[in-house]
Symmetry: C2
DNA sequence: CTGTTAGCGCATTCAT
DNA sequence: ATGAATGCGCTAACAG
């Protein structure tokens, strides 16, 4: 910037004024400065500017599990859109279900003084965030934090699972399996609770043999369904509730072309679900990311303590055929 | 940091030493300082640190079209992984095929002094980047830049298209349609060139009626296929080459359950392509992002001028059935 | 209207 | 082994 000032024959402050479009500069000098800027290819250092002005960093930090998972990719897109409305950029990081890594990432983001921190919590403890005094603009997504109070945006896991299982019960199924993610995950727990609750409400008995949790990957879900279908006929399920998009797709791989012998309802929408005729409980990852970002960015950091809010994003069942196969 | 120094009863510089793990501090003082840090919940301001040290910002900027597109989500994941190896964070931005917006985003990233800039170029001119003197660490992905020289990583578009069309020719097809993206896009142009080239090489004639470019969205691709299939029998195509993942999925929606009357090869892999038996030309978006990030981060910024490199990531055809339907 | 001084939070350089 | 002074690039608060 000093170079620009010298080249334009004005003071450093005048350059600053031109760049920030502050009033009170002669058009002639504005032109000189702009010419110098163009000649030198100068770009203001926003980092130095925000350091001095003490203003916001205009940066949002997002910690998700994996950008390549379509569910989180949509969340990231939503957050980026909201950030853009607030003239902010988004730093996206992937924790890969690793608590230690999550902590490193959060620390790195705090060290960069992000204005808002959005986290899909993976660790068993998040009190370290509150310890930094930053808790005000932290919002948790998809899962509630552990050992700390903060705004949280969730999908209606239990109700979604109940919708799915009740739907299958309505078609006469009594032996309904669940293929879900690791029980250490909040969403997996909640969906299993919903599953049990719906079975109880429908007067069906829970058979532990039909509960296959602990598999998050596509391959393990495929295996789980294969094992279920290999059971003797009287113990075999007639329907399955796949508790997330990975599980649903894994199950479809197990069943391949012949899906008529096992009714299926999946949790989470996925691309081509319509074409494949897969009945799902649709969640709204875009809305979740949007709400979370607005909560975090909408709050002025000086508001002081507040009680943590919890937003539950609704779900809906979309019938497409795979969930409407009657029990044999 | 001053607060910490006061709380610990030492000078500011000593705190700095402890934080940066510099040698030459009494263990006793280290303990005092660490206690003060814990008590105050202090986190170093990395922004101020990098400003003073003049070192790298440890930030990578990525400009893609849309994080929610699985293709770009994988690119983003790859770039994030490489950035992590270099102890850097990734700022992801979406230009949405808008040249003006792309320029805004690039400027915003340069103003933050990112160490490396990775761009899927959307605009008609990118000389403005070179004008900032930053060109050294800029790498373009998926499409070459306009009016400027810089490292570029591309997939083998023309060869991929040729593979697809040659495959269909081998099964006896003569009337092969192409459903592709807007002709303003480099990838669309290249794939159309490959299409024409393969037809010429195979002795088939090009029928302009079977060329349907200008549609990037899923819905427009579906429409395009519907129109092709509504042609009189003698003018109707017996095969189609869908030139990107959106087009392929749109085409599948048009065909629905009955895909036996139109052979199909798609450009780009997509989830469930295996299950649906869709033959595709597989590209490697992860590798593309990885190579681009390594090119950008591997270069020390002081290396001075260099000749722009161009890396072409290979493609391969994966036969799954939809492309092996013989011509009737 | 314009320029000068001071300082954001930290690391560098040089004293002590 | 520790600390004081100086400055990174910029803007806020004052001068002129």
């Amino acid at each position: 910037m000093l170079d620009v000032a010298n080249a334009a024959g004005v003071s450093l402050k005048t350059v600053s004024r031109v760049i920030n479009e502050e009033p009170g500069v002669t058009p002639a000098k504005v032109a000189q400065v702009e010419a110098a800027i163009a000649a030198l290819g100068y770009e203001r250092n926003d980092i130095a500017a925000s350091l001095r002005s003490g203003a916001k960093s205009s940066t949002v930090g997002l910690v998700i599990e994996d950008v390549a998972n379509p569910f989180y990719a949509v969340v990231a897109q939503a957050v980026e859109d909201v950030a853009r409305e607030h003239a902010s950029l988004l730093i996206t990081t992937s924790a890969r279900e690793d608590a230690e890594r999550e902590r490193q990432l959060v620390t790195a983001l705090l060290r960069r003084r992000v204005d808002a921190l959005l986290i899909v919590p993976a660790g068993p403890d998040h009190s370290y965030i509150a310890a930094t005094g930053f808790a005000g603009n932290t919002v948790f997504l998809d899962r509630p934090p552990a050992n700390t109070e903060a705004d949280t945006v969730l999908v209606d896991n239990a109700v979604g699972a109940e919708l799915a299982v009740a739907h299958l019960l309505r078609y006469g199924h009594q032996r309904i399996a669940i293929v879900g993610d690791a029980m250490s995950l909040y969403t997996a727990q909640e969906r299993l609770i919903g599953y049990r609750h719906a079975l109880a409400a429908g007067g069906a008995q829970v058979d532990e043999e039909l509960i296959s949790m602990g598999h998050g990957t596509l391959d393990s879900a495929r295996e789980a369904v294969n094992e279920l279908m290999a059971l003797p006929l009287d113990r075999r399920p007639t329907a399955v509730f796949t508790a997330n998009n990975r599980c649903t797709i894994g199950a479809l791989h197990a069943l391949e072309a012949d899906r008529s012998h096992l009714a299926l309802v999946g949790f989470d929408e996925f691309e081509l679900a319509d074409l494949l005729g897969v009945t799902v409980v649709r969640t709204d990852p875009y809305r979740m990311g949007q709400v979370a970002a607005e909560l975090a960015l909408g709050r002025t950091s000086s508001e002081g303590p507040h009680h943590a809010r919890r937003v539950i994003v609704p779900v809906e069942l979309v019938a497409r055929g795979s969930g409407e196969i009657p029990a044999s």
